[in-house]
């Protein structure tokens, strides 16, 4: 039975083995989250460019990409990458990947590709909120298409998209816990291991929850700060 006077965080935090597991877990969580965020953001910009081209097939392609990633649960995408696509690769590559933490690499790919769909949609709705007069005016003033995008449209679109981007960055961070299901030794995985070794479920989950919560709140606060910083006084 659960009894509160048994609650002993120190027992876990001062244990060398457990604290090493925790540190490793957080590091891997952060690596997975940051790498997949960067992958997602760069891919989202590529997707956005395709979507903005007048070519019909490119737009369809991006729409299909987004639909695919939004309608399949992230866990299933992770499994498809790690169990499915991994097995289709040539043997030499499989061996190389296995010796280079294949789980982490595939979780970064799967989470990054999935989140790119959401990021590109956020950016697109940010763009759509800009009145077309803005780009017409910029073009009339002599900007090239790319110049008007870079100096006039995107800075505004980015500001519009900020809240959604921050929300989705937080969910990307939280989704990194799913990598545990394919065996990445990130924070949730580490905590389960500590729990099964120490039989202190309450304490181990408590530590992980606090860590996740703190990091999520930091991302939210940093996002809010950035939004405020970037906002232009007097703009709508």
């Amino acid at each position: 039975m659960l009894s509160m006077n048994d609650f002993n965080l120190i027992a876990i935090l001062t244990n060398a083995e457990y604290s090493a597991l925790l540190v490793k877990g957080i590091t891997l969580t952060l690596i997975v989250a940051i790498c997949s965020w960067m992958l997602a953001m760069s891919l989202a910009l590529v997707l956005l460019t395709f979507r903005l081209t007048p070519m019909r097939w490119a737009q369809r392609l991006v729409a299909g990409y987004v639909a695919y990633h939004r309608n399949i649960p992230t866990l299933v995408q992770l499994m498809l990458w790690y169990f499915g696509i991994f097995s289709l690769l040539p043997d030499a590559l499989q061996v190389w990947l296995s010796s280079h933490n294949a789980e982490a690499i595939f979780s970064i790919i799967a989470l990054g590709l999935c989140q790119a769909a959401y990021f590109s949609e956020d950016l697109r709705s940010g763009l759509r909120a800009i009145p077309s007069g803005q780009s017409e005016a910029a073009r009339a003033l002599g900007h090239s298409y790319l110049g008007s995008m870079r100096h006039v449209i995107m800075p505004q679109a980015m500001r519009n998209a900020m809240p959604a981007l921050i929300n989705h960055s937080v969910s990307l961070f939280k989704n990194s816990s799913l990598a545990m299901a394919i065996g990445v030794a990130e924070l949730t995985h580490a905590v389960k291991e500590i729990e099964s070794q120490s039989f202190r479920a309450f304490e181990s989950y408590f530590i992980a929850t606090i860590l996740y919560l703190a990091l999520s709140l930091i991302i939210m606060a940093a996002g809010a700060w950035l939004t405020k910083r970037l906002s232009i006084k007097g703009a709508r």
């Binding site: 649960p73 097995s87 959401y118 969910s171 816990s177 799913l178 905590v191 999520s216």
Partner: protein, 261 residues
């Protein structure tokens, strides 16, 4: 291609209902029941949370806000682990995986739905509450007869897309051995061993078909609601609505801000 057909032909029953007549109900039926029950049970909880979040009394507002931020800041997987561990110790006897997952989904969805409900209430013109109070409604009377009917109707599209989210979240039941669709696919994969890509591709495709159909279907509902609201906005009694800039619906909640694990 033949392999795909072969796998589906041999295992369609397992994917559909799990080992049902001889074992627990599973597969896609389990997934659907779990998500439907989850959202239906979460809804009645979400309204009081939303009202508490909007309350002027700090002893109501603070716990609700903390709950919402707490649940939103922690991965669903972590909440599953908590329920998995806490529920049996609180009740005193074993809890099956299905019930554990259902409890988790109810807690998780209730907080997310409460944010949807809250945004729906906030999006209504302030005059609505003021007018109904002025007409002699009590706070709860005003909420029940004036505010909530409008807010809930307007947020229906977000709630429906929340259902698709819930459906995708049930996949995490796999971690605690709930026999839903993902679990069934893993069972098949463990039997075959040689065709992981085929099995997981079929799994992904199944989810895609279900979720895509639902999303499209709910899109039609959303259009219907948007049209109805446009019609209402022209009625003379909603001055606030007609004052809103053309093209934007007053109080139309932004489509779900939340995203799935």
């Amino acid at each position: 291609m033949l392999d795909f057909i072969q796998i589906i032909r041999d295992n369609w029953l397992l994917l559909l209902v799990g080992q049902y007549p001889n074992g627990p109900l599973g597969g896609i039926v389990c997934t659907l029941i779990l998500s439907l029950l989850g959202i239906l049970l979460a809804f009645p909880l979400s309204v009081p949370i939303a009202l508490a979040r909007l309350s002027e009394r700090s002893w109501l507002r603070w716990p609700a806000t903390m709950l919402v931020y707490g649940v939103r800041g922690v991965p669903l997987l972590m909440i599953i682990l908590w329920v998995y561990f806490l529920l049996p110790t609180l009740i005193g006897h074993e809890v099956p995986g299905f019930a554990t997952m259902l409890c988790t989904l109810v807690v998780y969805e209730a907080t997310y739905l409460s944010e949807v409900v809250r945004s729906g209430i906030l999006a209504l013109p302030k005059g609505q509450l003021e007018a109904s109070r002025a007409l002699g409604h009590s706070y709860f009377g005003a909420m029940r007869h004036v505010i909530l009917p409008q807010a809930l109707f307007n947020t229906l599209p977000s709630m429906l897309s929340q259902f698709v989210s819930t459906l995708q979240e049930t996949t995490l039941g796999y971690v605690i051995n709930v026999p839903e669709l993902t679990f069934a696919a893993n069972q098949i994969n463990n039997q075959l061993l040689t065709k992981p890509f085929h099995v997981f591709f079929i799994l992904a495709l199944t989810y895609f078909v279900v979720c895509f159909t639902l999303t499209k279907l709910f899109g039609l509902v959303e259009q219907h609601i948007a049209r109805k609201r446009l019609g209402r906005a022209t009625l003379p009694d909603s001055a606030d609505a007609s004052a809103a800039p053309a093209g934007t619906l007053p109080g139309l909640p932004t489509s779900t801000a939340k995203q799935l694990p």
